[in-house]
Each structure stands twice: as structure tokens, then as C-alpha cells.
Symmetry: C2
Subunit: 238 residues, 2 copies
DNA sequence: CGGTTGATTGAGTTCGGTCAAATAAAGTGG
DNA sequence: CCACTTTATTTGACCGAACTCAATCAACCG
């Protein structure tokens, strides 16, 4: 499988050979993080993180102890691009499954952006795409829980297809129901019931860490999902 | 008052004189949009929009007819930076109060980004800051309604202070309760009750289109608001 | 001064939350 | 390979925040 970040960036526009190999050098030093451990906490702002395998989650812990996951990070996703002031407790980044991560010095990335116009353009596109995605999650939050969950699954399908980690209608999803609940902003008890609902309607099959969507069209209609906001060729083709 | 976009961008890093004046030329052709009218709909992707006065909202309409506002656009905010595929019904942009807007050809902006490194850097920062903000809204969505509303008010205070449209503890807020409800993702009836609660606790005073926060510290604590995510000097100073 | 829009209140309902317990599954050490 | 612990999923009963429907009241406006 080719490099997931490059694969993803090339969905916006082609990169030169020099740009591709420059990006590849970023990810030489990999690190392994086991499930339920943080990849990054807030005090270290001089690096960004690239997930190269597994699924991670950007999250914040609320006062009462509950956790809200605001986005998933799948292979090819850069995290903590935004350097918030050092004083702040920023969002955290935690591994939901066992992950492999590359630590990238922020200065090194900045350098690539300065010297390679194609990378600069791709990073601009990436940030705006993530923004689009975050806003879609916001819209999603005002849908009923079953449609919301369906929407999340449908989005994950596209995002994993982009980096070659999903086939037509299924992908590996080794996270717990609790993680899913925190990403949807509902309780663990309730997500279980919602899952049962989707299973009963044959909208999804989820067993042995593999999620299958028997009829993608039907799930998509149910979820009110419009792939357009992702601005990916894979999505447009679909 | 100096140009709001420049004012905002300079919160990340200084711009050269050439860059400032290049940005100024972008906003020569203003347009007036009255409250409750769309500034942009989805089919026109060759321009971006700069709000120069008033408050607008980025929103999407759900199937059942309800509307979800995913962010406010205040003076100095650029909108529709992301060109989604032409096929998609993207987010819409509507004026909540009477607005003045500058239409900026996307190509013109791209040109500035190519030629002025400082503008390129500032735009990168801007996109990441908006992303940070969108994710903060997401976190906010899992708080109880009263805290959520308090958080929105606190955020608006900072964002308006940045462009010189708010003083220490108050600003003009001429939107309707219905708009606020759609931004918070709750019903019109409920926002009314929540507002009454905040008023009863002297956390806010909202009359004659002016919103005042008698005790900013107290509201902030109540909301669980941490200004750090905005990465603005104004916020850091506070 | 009627007419339209926005704010407020009341009553009843529902979706999703909490608490608590019961299974089921997955490790772990002997 | 089996007892034992831990973690994840599932179920039941009850509760509460927020929604809907519907009506009233207040403002604004030509």
C-alpha cells in the first residue's frame, strides 16, 4: 500500500515526484501506541503527528469526566496542525485501536510547505477539508441518533476508501461501543440500542471488528449523507 | 476602524505594508444584504465572501426543514474558502442581521497567496483556527444547553473584540432567538427558557440588541470556556 | 390601528440519560 | 487447559432535559 498521506493529498491535486519523496522522509521514525493511550497531550507543541495505522481520536474531557471525540484520525491524517498557545489545555489525541504514529517536527513540515508549492496547496486543501468535515459533524449532531450513527459509518467508509483501507462496502472497525458513543455524543447504553436498531434493519453488520454495509445506497439515504462536502475524487465518483 | 480582516490576520503574525494594501484592494466592491437573505448559495464556487459588517451564519437545512447554523461569520470573516465539488449542496451562507459583504474572486485571492508569503501563512493560520473553533462547537454540543449558550456568548465576545466590535464586556447582538436556537441546535421554545435562566442568574443582560456580560469571569467559569483554542492575542491577554 | 413578526408560557410527549445488574468475551496466571 | 479477573456488551426500570403543539403576549411598522 502506498503512503496514506500522499494518497490522500493527491485527491486534491497531483504532487511532483520531489514533493512525494519529501513527504515520505517525514514518516521514517514510527512509533507504536497501544489502544487507550494518548498519542499527544497538550504541552508539546513543536510537532505534528501522522497516523500511519490504526484509528485515533481527537477528544476533550469535560468537567464531569465525560469525553467528547470531535474527529477520528485514520491512516494518512495529520493531527495537531494548530499550535494553540502553550497555556491552554488543548484537544487531546488518543489511540482508539493500536496505532502506529510518526512524529513530525513542526519546523520540518513548515519547511516543506515553504519550498514546495504543491505541498503548500495540498495542506491548504487539507485544512479546509477538515473544516468542512468538522462542520458536517456539527450538522450531524442535530440529527436523531440512529441517522447520526449511520452518517458516521458512511463517512468512515469514504475516508478509509481514500487511503485504501476499505473495499466497496466494508472496513475494519476495531473500536469499542464506548468510543463510538463518545464520538456521537451519546451514552454507552444508548449507542448499544441504536446499534441494535441499525442491525435489525439490516443497515449494518458489525462483528469481529469488521463493519459491513450491505446496501450503501440505502444507508446513505437513511443517514442523509451527501459525500460532496469531503471534496474527494473517491466520493465524487461514488 | 481599520480593516477587520487585516486586524484579525495580524493576530497571528504581522503583515508587510504591501500585504496589507493588497488585502485592502480585495474589499472595494461591497454589497448590502438584508437580514434573512442568503449571501451565497451553493452553485457559485468561483468566489469567496468577506463579511464587513453585520452577522451572518453558515448553515445547512435538514430534511425536516430545520436549519442548523454551524458557525457565525462576523466582520473580518472569510466564507466559502472550500470549493466543494459543483454537484453538491454545500453549506449555505445567510445574513442574520443586515450585512455588508465583499465578493472576492477566488482566483484573485489565490494570486495573493502565491505572491505574498505572509498572506499565505496568515490564511493557513486562519483555516486552522476556524477548524479549532468548529471542533470547540462540537465539544460544546455535549454540554447542557445553558452552559452551551453561555459558551457561545463568551466566544462571540472574544471574536468581536478581535475586530474592535465589542468592548470589555458587551457587544451588539441584533439576531433573533430563533437564529440563536439554530446555532445551538435546540428549539426556539427551549432557548427562550434557557435565556431566562441565564438572565435570572445575572449571567447576561440582553436588551435592545445589546448583550452585556456583567461578570465575564463568572460566565466563563460557568460555560467552561477556555479561550486558548482561538489562538488570538486578545484571548491570551485576557 | 390592524397586521406581521418575535418572545413567552403551558401542557403533554419523547428521546436519550442514569443507575444497576446480568451476560458475554477476552485476558492472565498457575 | 482451566479457574479467575477484567473489560465489553446487553438488558431493564426509571428519570429528566429538551421537543412539539398551541396559545398568548409584546413589539414593531406601514
Amino acid at each position: 500500500m502506498s503512503h496514506p498521506l500522499i494518497r490522500k493529498l493527491e485527491h486534491s491535486a497531483a504532487l511532483s515526484q520531489a514533493e512525494r519523496s519529501a513527504l515520505e522522509t517525514l514518516t521514517l521514525n514510527r512509533r507504536s501506541v497501544s489502544a487507550r493511550h494518548d498519542i499527544a497531550v497538550y504541552d508539546n507543541t513543536d510537532r505534528v503527528y501522522l497516523v500511519t495505522s490504526g484509528i485515533a481520536g481527537r477528544y476533550r474531557t469535560l468537567r464531569q469526566g465525560s469525553r467528547r471525540i470531535v474527529s477520528f484520525a485514520v491512516p494518512g491524517d495529520l493531527c495537531r496542525m494548530h499550535t494553540c498557545g502553550p497555556s491552554t489545555r488543548d484537544m487531546r489525541l488518543g489511540a482508539l485501536t493500536h496505532c502506529s504514529v510518526a512524529d513530525i517536527p513542526r519546523a520540518r513540515l513548515a519547511e516543506l510547505i515553504e519550498t514546495h508549492p504543491g505541498i503548500a496547496r495540498a495542506m491548504r486543501w487539507l485544512a479546509l477539508m477538515e473544516l468542512s468535515r468538522a462542520r458536517e459533524w456539527l450538522v450531524n449532531d442535530s440529527r436523531p441518533a440512529d441517522r447520526r450513527l449511520a452518517h458516521h459509518f458512511r463517512e468512515l467508509l469514504v475516508c478509509l476508501q481514500v487511503v485504501g483501507l476499505a473495499d466497496e462496502n466494508s472496513f475494519e472497525l476495531a473500536i469499542s461501543q464506548a468510543d463510538l458513543a463518545d464520538a456521537m455524543g451519546i451514552s454507552q447504553v444508548h449507542i448499544n440500542r441504536v446499534l441494535q436498531g441499525l442491525r435489525a434493519d439490516d443497515l449494518i453488520v458489525w462483528s469481529k471488528s469488521a463493519l459491513t454495509i450491505p446496501d450503501v445506497e440505502r444507508l446513505q439515504a437513511f443517514a442523509g449523507f451527501d459525500p460532496g462536502y469531503l471534496d474527494l475524487r473517491a466520493a465524487r465518483a461514488a
